[in-house]
Symmetry: C2
Subunit: 330 residues, 2 copies
């Protein structure tokens, strides 16, 4: 078999944690993380890419494990001063973090693609895995709520996910093109992992990229999903709250059904073992809580082993059973 | 007589100090500082205006008196991180300071003029004097040296003024237009002060603005200059070094001759009292060293009193005696 080359689809914190585990388990140059850019936005005249940066900081080991966002040992001198100047200070941009946004924005204005910029940044920070934005053109997650349509960061940070979610759309996705680097990574991948990220805010924006869902459905590598819902709750973020508001059962079963047409195997936490027979694909039951480097790497290794079992001697993809997306679990 | 309305022409530190003294002596809303923008440059994708900010920080009382540039209580988190990312870190941008550059750059990109942006910033910082850039379009000081033509900040900061200066030009000045706000301020001024700033790097760029020199020559208000050269040395910066390199005598007399065609009176330090009879205009000899708020305000008051004497009962301008610019003192 070729050297293992893994693609991870990731959003923010949960995705970044599992990506870190995969990087540790695989060694350098074997992991490509395709990252949600639906959270990206313009702020202080700069282009901010929260998920790309969370993944990059985690893979570089310079993330702040307490907040889940931003960098360790961060200061907020610019933010304080910005507040004094009447600038927007609801989004907590740290000083170290800001250097990344400044570099990125300057390079983008000079004509570099987000793919190129992201690669320069991760190399500057010594990251040995490839980090790819899902799109080089803007795709913006729009959250339709009882308080109106909200750009993602306004929903997520400014309003602290308080509005009731009706639906989520990805503005710009229909006219976006999958970056060549993503196509290239797909050609070499022999395992694809959907990280335990929010399905609607992190993974679906990636899957909304034209052609990607079909490309994954027909891809020979095993596609494994990890539930971000554990014991009826989201590990982090508004996934559970959104599922309730959109009339779904808060359960790994709902997530597995959501990805039914693209996944070959699903990973649920031990505390949800009793639900595994409701999932119409092979299921790995294990401890999915990633609290430290050891647990991240252990989970990553188990997922890779599970994938290898599914791949078996041949590389024929598992049968596809399309389901109505976002239908409540039975 | 109308309420006193004073215009100060200023560059960096020396200009900012005297402007602070004038503001204290005059009270709010009586001072307009027209500031050199020849030092402005693009850095980290932002528009940096060092002299505008030095004047603004001094008038707001938030300047760092030890360095002469930047803000008090400053941190350098972004700069450190920028260095790690391989970005340029030779220009020491502080975090608090950076918030100003971010605001300015965003507003400029949105289409505001530098005059408008500067006014918003000084108001946000509670400054009760008007601060005006000499130009809304870029005018860039180019220092011609034995090491080639250098953009100002490369000469001044990166190379620490080490190259030998042959000449100085102001790129973009010929096609620039005096901002309407400067024209308006000139209409109301009854005293005009050339601050003790570098003649070639701070005041001449302002005087290079089309029409301004002629406008000052025919302006009825007394025009007073203050020597930045004291006891054969520049209080701060490369003025003395440049004078030597350009073949001039390092003396207040050289500066007075340099401005001969526009000034009505000149202020020299006590230690240069013996030179005052070489200056072909009324001279005030006093202590020009501004070490604290008291000395700034005292000097400002003396200059205003001196101006009032020159103005006398009528407001006829003093006779003009044009001289060859930059000629060495006799």
């Amino acid at each position: 078999m070729n050297p293992q080359h893994v693609i991870a689809l990731a959003g923010g914190v949960g995705g970044a944690k599992l990506a870190t585990g995969l990087q540790a388990a695989l060694g350098p140059d074997r992991l490509t993380v395709i990252v949600n850019t639906g959270d990206d936005f313009e702020h202080w005249g700069l282009t901010i890419c929260p998920d790309l940066d969370t993944v990059m900081y985690n893979l570089a080991g310079i993330h702040n494990p307490e907040t889940g966002w931003g960098r360790t040992g961060e200061t907020f001198g610019v933010l304080e001063s910005m507040g004094q100047l009447g600038g927007e200070d609801w989004f907590r941009l740290g000083d170290k973090d800001l250097a990344v946004h400044l570099r990125r924005s300057e390079w983008l204005r000079q004509g570099a693609t987000l793919t190129e910029v992201t690669d320069r940044l991760r190399r500057a920070l010594g990251v040995r895995s490839v980090i790819l934005p899902m799109s080089d053109s803007p795709v913006r997650t729009l959250v339709h709520t009882d308080e109106g349509d909200l750009p993602f960061q306004h929903y997520f940070v400014r309003l602290r996910c308080e509005p009731v979610v009706i639906d989520v759309t990805y503005v710009g996705a229909a006219s976006a093109r999958l970056p060549i680097a993503v196509e290239e990574a797909l050609r070499h991948a022999n395992l694809i992992v959907f990280c335990p990220s929010n399905p609607y805010l992190s993974i679906d924006p990636i899957l909304s990229m034209p052609g990607l869902r079909r490309r994954l459905q027909t891809h020979p590598a095993p596609k494994m999903g990890v539930s971000p819902i554990v014991g009826g709750q989201a590990i982090k973020g508004p996934a559970a709250k959104m599922m309730r508001e959109m009339g779904m059962t808060i359960s790994p079963v709902t997530v597995a059904h959501h990805y039914q047409d693209v996944l070959d195997g699903f990973v649920v936490d031990m505390c949800d073992a009793h639900l595994s027979d409701q999932i119409d694909m092979p299921v790995l039951v294990t401890d999915t809580i990633m609290t430290d480097q050891t647990s991240k790497q252990r989970l990553a290794t188990e997922i890779m082993d599970f994938g290898a079992q599914l791949r078996g001697p041949s590389s024929a993809p598992a049968p596809i059973q399309p389901q109505n997306l976002r239908s409540p679990a039975p």
